[in-house]
Point group: C2
């Protein structure tokens, strides 16, 4: 084992293929259903929202899909990202475990989101699309699509949840710097937005409302505008597998294989991205790797949700997906890990969870910030509140190793940095961090509200 | 020439020695003088402020100085930093030049400053110091010292210019996350601070005032507290040579040598850091590399200043240094490149400039932000307003190459990212950026106010 700390593959070793887990799953991903008749929605029905190139990937049963040269070129802006051995954290924990993290925070926008934004922009451009519309909460996804739009000469319109738009202006300016147009949601530019604004309580907005607004704009554009989603969908998770593929390549060079793979879980894309390239070996029984999906106790979709068909957005514009859900009516409390405030979960991750292939772990906000500050003072990087969940779960495993003496290899994904989340740290230091816990009785209401299909 | 874009040396190739330019200079760096008698200040007189380890480096005539293992270990947090070929920028400019940049923005605090902060913390710790006190303007330096303090178990107190403290709270929170104590300057905790606060115009503070406050705390501590400075001094520039040494090593591997080396210039440390490892060849006549120091037209110390002995701080607590100066009474207008708002310049850079070895270039704020936005939309990284000066100068050279057809190799230092400077971008997009120009007649006043020594 070398003494190196940062492991960086050269540009030429960016993965040339995405890994599609679908053919390797224990059973097929349940299809999306129409809420009207409960029947599977034909692929063509999605063409108002997505280009065929992405829809084909969404249902593909091909194990590997070549990454186009144009996408590889833009990936070279920041890929391969470094794999880092967290030696300083190991030392302060006194653990015999080896902790590695994949540093996706080095992407120019500060998170893993460009991995799919670049691919989505490319396939849209290829099919003649001129404009993409999307939603963003804290802004990680909107920034990523804005950067991708600059590279593929696409107009990017972002509906940003108004609470974030007003409280976190820096992300908005970042998107504008990349050339995107950003507007607060709910807006008066859509029917859904106008309807939502009739109830003043909707004024601060939510991710569910912003999705509905963006979908409406694309669906009513007559084909010139398409929609882009930053997580949840099968093709999004597949684009993110570059994370795990690079990590696997470096660990193989070191003669290592992770015993535990950890990522935070919101919609499921960064979790899928790092987990999928190691998951096949688990499904086939070749390896007994532990997979930990780390989520907020305030919004514990995988830990406490129901595995059922549900709506993905507030406006009920998107077909039903089978997923772990806390109910489409559940509005998660405003924890600082905004990217983890989603009532549902990716259908692929949900299927894996239902088969017992993943262990979901729900954490209190306070534990994640304690982990984040320890990480900053040892490894230097101030993590995004979302990524702090992965760090906290990694620390739990490392501490257990200290008790048992096990020299486990821990791999977690540092999905992003916290430079645009410093307010959250300020609240933490001021002792003002609220610790929300999902009220278990809510799940009964969620169950009652589920659409009657599937 | 390979097609790779990101060039990353492994951890084990972090430079093992700093390069001290002093023995290779055309003539010795003029000594610091006492304002009282105009005589050189003996080294021991500085012991109230700095540990002997750093003072020895300040006057050393040894060409190379070994980097202690403890420093190398903490450098491995982020070093070696990547050298990146700016292919996307080259393409959009249509230049035959090759543009490389050293990406110091990947340091956890977002700039090159930890290169010297880590070294300074180490030498202080080694000599039994418990606490370091310093000043910071926009916060880059304070963050770096805070991070270094976390690694060497030192208390860090930062006097932050009040205007920044109030307008840019995120940098303050970053320092606190690393465990530092931050207070606004002028403060009531020092004699200088109290005196300054008697005049309400001093309430927003300045770097000069903050330096004086920090120096006062150290000088009156009875030896337990020392002071740390983030630029200007010889040992600081030497610590920063890891930037240029790494860049040189990668370029050598590629069979290249830069025709032009560019960095922004404030106090001189990032410029010295990238320039010095190529400067010896210029001094000896072996190479005819062009060195460009890019500074704001609002504070053009090297371009318009006088080469003379002057005070480095407002409180006149620090001995006189021979440098290019706009006068110690000059308060630079509040351009967004806060790190470049210094009336003086590093003695080493000043000497090189006086010998015609450097070309200083003063740029309007608007040109630098145009360059920054073009860089963000092509290379992805949103640069700090300081670093945007280097980018703008690199673009000037690349455009000239397009005219002449020259295939020059351009190397510039990306000293930091702009994640904590997004307000500046907002003002730029809103057309609210003011374009200050140094009033040439001011230099007559500066000349008159110079101390009568040397």
């Amino acid at each position: 084992m070398t003494d190196d700390r940062i492991f960086q593959l050269p540009t030429r070793e960016i993965p040339k293929k995405w890994l599609n887990i679908q053919p390797s799953l224990p059973e097929p991903v349940p299809p999306m259903l129409s809420p009207a008749d409960g029947k599977p929605v034909p692929l063509e029905a999605f063409l108002t929202l997505f280009p065929m190139g992405l829809l084909e990937q969404e249902v593909s049963q091909q194990r590997e899909i070549s990454i186009p040269d144009e996408v590889l070129k833009v990936y070279s802006l920041f890929r391969p990202t470094p794999l880092i051995r967290a030696k300083f954290l190991e030392e302060v924990l006194g653990t015999p475990a080896m902790i590695f993290f994949k540093n996706e925070s080095v992407a120019p926008t500060g998170s893993h989101k460009p991995n799919t934004a670049i691919a989505q922009a490319y396939y849209n451009k290829k099919e003649g699309v001129k404009k993409l519309v999307t939603e963003t909460g804290a802004g990680q996804w909107g920034s990523a699509l804005a950067l991708a739009g600059a590279h593929f000469d696409l107009d990017i319109n972002v509906f940003m949840v108004r609470a974030s738009y007003e409280q976190k202006p820096y992300r908005k300016i970042m998107m504008e710097t990349y050339g995107a147009k950003v507007q607060p949601s709910p807006s008066k530019d859509t029917q859904i937005g106008k309807k939502m604004l009739e109830d003043k309580r909707n004024y601060p907005g939510s991710l569910g409302i912003a999705i509905s607004e963006a979908v409406e704009v694309a669906a009513t554009s007559g084909g010139t505008v398409k929609y882009a989603l930053g997580s949840v969908l099968n093709h999004v998770l597949m684009h993110q597998t570059v994370i795990g593929l690079e990590a696997r390549a470096v660990l193989e060079d070191l003669g290592l294989y992770p015993d535990v793979v950890i990522a935070c879980h919101g919609g499921g894309s960064n979790f899928g991205g790092i987990a999928i390239p190691f998951m096949e070996d688990k499904i086939s029984g070749k390896r007994n790797t532990e997979f930990v999906a780390s989520e907020p106790l305030a919004c514990p979709s995988l830990s406490k949700g129901i595995y059922a068909y549900d709506f993905g957005d507030s406006g009920k514009l998107i077909p039903l997906a089978k997923m772990y859900t806390l109910g489409h009516g559940f509005i998660p409390p405003s924890v600082h890990a905004g990217g983890l405030r989603y009532h549902g979960a990716a259908p692929i991750v949900s299927l894996l969870n239902s088969k017992g292939l993943i262990r979901a772990e729900a954490l209190r906000q306070k534990e994640t910030f304690e982990a984040a500050v320890l990480f900053a003072r040892t490894e230097g990087i101030i993590p995004a509140p979302e990524s702090a969940h992965a760090i906290a779960s990694a620390i739990r495993v490392a501490k257990k190793c200290k008790e048992t003496g096990e020299k486990k290899v821990i791999l977690f994904n540092l999905s992003g940095h916290g430079h645009f989340d410093m307010q959250a740290y300020e609240q933490y230091f001021a002792g003002k961090l609220e610790d929300y816990e999902y009220p278990e009785k809510e799940i009964l209401k969620a169950e009652k509200d589920l659409p009657k299909v599937g």
